[in-house]
C-alpha cells in the first residue's frame, strides 16, 4: 500500500478506535445512570431535626408551662402535596414539678394514650412561603380533634426550614377534666407553642 494511503488508513483507524472507545465509555456511564438512585424522582422527604413543644396552663394562682423536646416527625411529598406526621410522648413534657407532671399524665390519660400525634397535609410549594395555614388533625387523650387554618411562620435556611406557631388547643376539645387547685379549676385554654426545624432529604 502506498505510504500516504497507509497513513490515511492508519489515521482513520485511530479515529474510529477512539470513537469506539468513547462509545463504550459513554454506554457504561449511561447504564450506571439508569440503574442508580433516580436523580429526577418526584418524591421528597422531610425529617424533623429539632423541636420544642410548650403547653401553657392558666390558674388564678399559677401560670404553668410544660416543655418537651422529644417530638419526632416525618413528611412525605408526592405530586406537589406533602403529608406530615409529628408525634411526641405525653410523659416527656416537663413543667419543672414532678408532682404536677404526674397529675398531668393522669388527667390526660397519658398512660392509656401515651402519644400525641399531629397529622397535616401541605402543598410542597408552601415551603417557599413565609407563612402557611395548615389544617391539623390531633390525637391526644384518646380523642381526635381538627384544627382548621392554623397559621405557622416559616424560615428557610439552606436545606432546613424552621416552623413556629401556636395551636389553640383547649381541655374541652379532648374531653379533659380541668384540674383544680384550692377548689379553683384551671382555664379551658391550653395553647401549645410549636417550634420545629425540618430538614429535607
Amino acid at each position: 500500500m502506498p505510504f500516504h494511503k497507509t497513513m490515511y488508513a492508519t489515521s482513520s483507524y485511530n479515529q474510529i478506535s477512539m470513537a469506539k472507545r468513547k462509545l463504550v465509555v459513554f454506554l457504561v456511564l449511561a447504564a450506571a445512570n439508569v440503574f442508580t438512585a433516580p436523580a429526577f424522582a418526584a418524591d421528597r422527604q422531610w425529617v424533623l431535626k429539632q423541636s420544642t413543644l410548650t403547653y401553657h396552663v392558666s390558674h388564678p394562682l399559677h401560670q404553668t408551662e410544660g416543655v418537651s423536646h422529644a417530638a419526632r416527625g416525618k413528611g412525605v411529598c408526592h405530586d406537589g402535596q406533602c403529608e406530615f406526621l409529628i408525634a411526641v410522648p405525653v410523659k416527656t413534657f416537663d413543667s419543672g414539678d414532678s408532682n404536677r407532671d404526674l397529675h398531668m399524665i393522669q388527667v390526660t390519660r397519658g398512660a392509656e394514650f401515651p402519644m400525641v400525634t399531629v397529622r397535616t397535609r401541605l402543598p410542597e410549594s408552601g415551603a417557599a412561603s413565609a407563612t402557611v395555614k395548615a389544617d391539623l388533625e390531633i390525637q391526644f387523650a384518646g380523642q381526635t380533634t381538627q384544627y382548621k387554618q392554623v397559621q405557622f411562620q416559616l424560615v428557610t435556611q439552606g436545606n432546613e426550614t424552621r416552623i413556629s406557631g401556636t395551636i389553640p388547643a383547649t381541655l374541652a376539645d379532648f374531653k379533659i377534666d380541668p384540674p383544680s387547685l384550692l377548689t379553683m379549676p384551671v382555664k379551658n385554654d391550653i395553647p401549645v407553642r410549636v417550634e420545629m426545624t425540618w430538614g429535607a432529604e
Binding site: 449511561a30 394562682l61 412525605v76 392509656e112 394514650f113 381526635t144
Partner: protein, 230 residues
C-alpha cells in the same frame, strides 16, 4: 454522511434514551421502593391496641398511601404501647392526693383557731373554760391532721419518678410539722395537768408553746408551697 456526524448523532440518541429511562424507571423505582419500605415497617410495627370507636382511635392511619405512619418514627414499644395498669395507679394516686389536699385545707381552720385560743389558755388565769376550748380545738386539729397525713403517706408512688420542683419543699416541711404535731399535744397535756394543779408550767412542758408555733408555721409554709409559685 460523515462518520463523525454519525457518531455524534448516535451519542445524542443514546443520551436522550438515558434521560428518558431515568425519568420513567426512576419514578416507578422510587414509588416501589417507598411502598416496599412501608410494608416492611408495617410488618415490624407493634401489635395495635384493642379496637375503639373511629373518632377515638389513636394513631389512626391516614387514608393516603404516601402518609407516614407512627411506626416509622422510631419510638420504642414502651413509649407507644398503652399501659392500663399504670393509668389505674395514677388514678388512685390522684384520688388520694385530692383528698389529702382537701383535708389539709380543712385542717388549717381548727389549727388557726387553736393558735388564736392559745392566748387565753396559759398565763396566770386559772380559768379552765379557755383552756378546755384550746384543748378541744387542738384535739380536733390533731385528728384532722392525722387523716391528712394518712392520705399523703398511703398514696401510691410511681416507680422511677424523681421528686423535682416545689413539691420537694412540701415534702421536706412534713419532717418539721409531722414530729411537731406529735410533740405539741404531748407537751400540751403535760402543761394542762400542771395548770390544773395550780402549778406554773415548767420544765419540758413549757416547750409546748414554741413547739406549737414552729409546727403551725411549718404547716402553713407547706400549704403555701403547693399553692403559690415562688
Amino acid at each position: 454522511m460523515n462518520s463523525k456526524v454519525k457518531l455524534s448523532l448516535g451519542f445524542g440518541i443514546l443520551l436522550v434514551f438515558t434521560l428518558a429511562a431515568n425519568l420513567v424507571w426512576g419514578q416507578e423505582g422510587g414509588a416501589t421502593a417507598s411502598a416496599q419500605a412501608k410494608e416492611a415497617a408495617e410488618a415490624q410495627a407493634p401489635a395495635s391496641p384493642p379496637a375503639k370507636p373511629a373518632e377515638n382511635l389513636p394513631d389512626a392511619p391516614s387514608s393516603s398511601q404516601t402518609a407516614p405512619s407512627l411506626s416509622e418514627l422510631g419510638f420504642s414499644k414502651e413509649e407507644t404501647e398503652a399501659n392500663a395498669r399504670q393509668q389505674a395507679l395514677l388514678d388512685k394516686r390522684t384520688h388520694m392526693l385530692k383528698i389529702h389536699q382537701r383535708m389539709g385545707l380543712i385542717t388549717a381552720i381548727p389549727l388557726v383557731a387553736t393558735v388564736v385560743t392559745s392566748m387565753n389558755a396559759g398565763g396566770r388565769d386559772t380559768s379552765s373554760a379557755s383552756r378546755d376550748l384550746h384543748v378541744a380545738l387542738g384535739s380536733l386539729t390533731g385528728d384532722l391532721y392525722g387523716i391528712t397525713a394518712y392520705y399523703a403517706i398511703r398514696a401510691p408512688r410511681v416507680p422511677g419518678t424523681e421528686t423535682r420542683g416545689q413539691i420537694r419543699l412540701h415534702k421536706t416541711l412534713a419532717w418539721i410539722h409531722g414530729p411537731g404535731m406529735i410533740m405539741t399535744p404531748i407537751l400540751g397535756a403535760m402543761a394542762f395537768n400542771e395548770k390544773n394543779k395550780g402549778e406554773k408550767v415548767h420544765g419540758i412542758a413549757s416547750a409546748h408553746g414554741p413547739v406549737a408555733i414552729v409546727t403551725a408555721g411549718a404547716f402553713g409554709a407547706a400549704l403555701l408551697s403547693v399553692s403559690v409559685k415562688f
